[in-house]
């Protein structure tokens, strides 16, 4: 499919591209549907509950029913809300979340675009979503939403930086921003994967990623016990569904990114296991990461906003910077 990019743009190409984009969107939507189901089941079992088990066999249709319910709900916009921005905000949150998936390679030959600035593209686009959240919080004309939106802005800016800097070590080792190349450079068994030499970067990446996703213990923008629901307190129906959808699509994106950057992408952990297709390994690693995210949600309390800032700027950022220095020194010596 990569060759098609060099041909002249024709209606045939537009059709092909649109078709694959639609396929990807369906895959992501199915993932989101069952990620929510999986999360509720996993957390249910951890909390001595059963989780959803009423709608469909084993509760498999629970999320479908929830989404349908959200879609047929009345679309309410508060009278004093800033109408255009209120409508725009969920879209701004939602669109980048899908756009970032374009650069992620799922297997050797399974990817949408092999951009040379893939990592940069991801970081740049994903930070656009923050604008949507702040906008939603502001446009709602609700004090809780405003506080949630402000928190979110502060948090995402503080954690975007360590997130990107923690990846710099990986980029230095492979010498490229291209996600496909980064993944293929780790081929040949788990001792070649980046999480071993870049263990500090990996840990910083995980913490910053959880924070980027606004998940426990960093779910301050929507801290239920303090801010009721945070920035989306005034949203209902499908606009609310868009916020939720974007959140889970980002879970998909971050888990994929972690797999590609640190866990060897589609590479088998031991070389003799290579007969199993790469996509299976990708899905396994990806699913473990997603499980990890759900697991910590069931375990941790929420961190406080000032502590969150302290952790981001005083701990994670210096750690990520030190990681870069160590990587550079090591590379110079090893050369």
């Amino acid at each position: 499919m990569g060759d098609l990019l060099h041909e002249n743009l024709s209606w045939r190409l537009v059709g092909i591209f649109s078709f694959w984009a639609a396929v990807m969107m369906v895959i992501v939507l199915v993932f989101v549907t069952y990620a929510i189901y999986f999360e509720r089941k996993v957390i249910g079992w951890m909390q001595a509950r059963k989780g959803p088990n009423r709608v469909g066999p084993l509760g498999l249709l629970q999320t479908v029913a929830d989404v349908l319910k959200l879609l047929i709900k009345e679309d309410t916009i508060p009278k004093k809300a800033d109408r255009p921005f209120f409508i725009l905000a969920p879209v701004i949150v939602f669109v980048p979340s899908f756009a970032v998936i374009a650069t992620i390679p799922f297997a050797e030959n399974l990817y949408h675009a092999s951009l040379n600035v893939g990592m940069l593209y991801y970081a740049a686009l994903s930070s656009i979503s923050t604008i949507g959240i702040v906008l939603g919080g502001w446009a709602s004309n609700n004090k809780y939403a405003l506080l949630g939106g402000m928190r979110s802005a502060a948090q995402m800016i503080s954690y975007e930086i360590p997130l990107v800097i923690s990846v710099v070590g990986v980029i230095m080792m492979t010498g490229t921003l291209n996600l496909h190349t980064i993944a293929s450079a780790q081929a040949g068994g788990f001792w070649h994967w980046n999480f071993l030499p870049q263990i500090v970067g990996f840990i910083v990446f995980i913490i910053a990623a959880v924070s980027e996703l606004n998940r426990t213990p960093f779910d301050l923008p929507e801290a239920e016990s303090e801010l009721v629901a945070g920035y989306h307190v005034e949203y209902s129906g499908f606009r609310f569904a868009f916020f939720m959808l974007a959140e889970y699509v980002y879970v998909f994106a971050i888990a994929s990114l972690a797999t590609v950057l640190f866990l060897g992408g589609w590479d088998a952990p031991l070389p003799f296991l290579n007969f199993i297709p790469g996509i299976v390994w990708f899905i396994l690693k990806f699913a473990s990461f997603v499980f990890f995210l759900f697991w910590i949600r069931a375990t941790f309390p929420r961190i406080r906003i000032d502590q969150l800032m302290g952790l981001g700027w005083k701990v994670l950022l210096p750690l990520a910077l030190i990681n870069i220095v160590i990587t550079a020194v090591y590379m110079e010596i090893a050369k």
């Binding site: 016990s225 801010l227 929420r302 406080r304």
Partner: protein, 366 residues
């Protein structure tokens, strides 16, 4: 030039962390609280006024509904005051049953607090663990009185129902089960770094402040003041049992947390002894006339509820209904320190501090 403004935020009465219909109006400078005004009374039912038209036995169900998380101790505070006024002898078996249900209730109440407090701080699982274990106590009470929350179990002169066969064994099994679970609670939560950083040093006050505001229960003991009515002014048969009164040192949320968890362990200790000494057979009601008519006079009798000193003040003019009845509700009194604690704290700490005071709105508003 940027113009800044204070934000007036109305927290409650429908807010997930105000534990019922309690409301705080806060002035926020950014996220820092500059002024906090608690507003209460949304659940006021006029229990004290209603009691003036009810016979003493009829008032007992009303006490269930004051502190609905700890109905057994509330039952006791009323019947205890009436019994003292009438100087009634309580049979041994009834005394033991009362003590056992009150201590079970203390554990159940602290478990509700523990679960909801962790929920306030943002951890979901402890809440479900606490309610899973509390369910066992509820089932024990259900077997005893037929109700799960508002038991209406005690009567002037004794208790309404005797323990069914094997009930005491079930309590014994629960005590050993709960001991394990308490260790699990500690392992799961008490050492968590995020949790500790959220509650250590937050909502601090001195022993003098606590006494000045009339605080009682864990809110007082967390400052190091060793006052527990079960020890200091023993009622029921508490003087026969061995237990410690846990105290804190700093008077912050962390100390209140630790004091309450330790109280659960001490309650288990009392229960262990009580179950061993539980008398075989015997009456469960003392000799009380069918119509309860205390002699004219006044009495104030207080006990240690899970939330602190709950007292009942009765003015009787010799009729079968009280002339005036007044409850000293610990939740209400403990809440008075809240505005002082909140100034200068963030929105997040509002929830942490309010939760650590452990109020039940039914009791605050009465």
């Amino acid at each position: 030039m940027v113009r800044t403004e204070e934000l007036l935020l109305n927290v409650g009465p429908q807010h997930p962390s105000t534990h019922g219909v309690f409301r705080v109006v806060v002035k926020l400078d950014g996220e820092v609280i500059t002024e906090a005004t608690p507003v209460m009374g949304y659940l006021h039912r006029g229990t004290e006024k209603l009691a003036e038209d009810l016979t003493y036995t009829q008032i007992i169900p009303y006490t269930d509904r004051m502190d609905y998380v700890s109905a057994m101790t509330n039952n006791y505070v009323l019947v205890n005051a009436v019994e003292k006024l009438m100087q009634i002898e309580i049979p041994e078996r009834a005394q033991f049953l009362r003590l056992i249900v009150m201590e079970l209730q203390r554990i159940a109440s602290h478990m509700v607090w523990w679960g909801t407090y962790l929920l306030d701080i943002g951890a979901m699982s402890p809440f479900l663990f606490a309610f899973r274990d509390r369910e066992q106590i509820i089932n024990l009470f259900n077997e005893l009185s037929g109700a799960r929350l508002t038991y209406n179990y005690m009567r002037v002169g004794g208790v309404k129902w005797d323990a069914p066969d094997g009930w005491i064994d079930k309590v014994r099994r629960f005590v050993s089960y709960m001991k394990e679970k308490l260790e699990e609670y500690h392992a799961l939560v008490s050492g968590n770094e995020i949790f500790l950083s959220r509650i250590k040093g937050v909502g601090k006050y001195s022993a003098q402040d606590a006494i000045d505001f009339g605080l009682s229960g864990a809110n007082l003991r967390c400052t190091g003041v060793k006052r527990d009515l079960r020890k200091d002014e023993p009622y029921c048969i508490y003087d026969r049992f061995e237990f410690d009164v846990p105290v804190g040192t700093n008077g912050d949320c962390y100390d209140r947390y630790m004091v309450r968890l330790e109280e659960m362990r001490q309650s288990l200790r009392i229960l262990e002894q009580a179950v061993e000494q539980f008398p075989e057979g015997g009456e469960i009601m003392g000799k009380v006339s069918r119509v309860i008519r205390p002699p004219a006079g006044e009495i104030y009798a207080a006990i240690e509820s899970p939330r602190g000193e709950i007292g009942c003040y009765i003015v009787s003019n010799g009729k079968d209904k009280p002339y005036r009845l007044k409850f000293r509700r610990p939740s209400f009194v403990n809440l008075q320190i809240l505005p002082k604690l909140l100034v200068g704290e963030t929105m997040t700490n509002l929830v942490t501090i309010l939760g650590s005071i452990d109020i039940v709105v039914g009791e605050v508003d009465c």
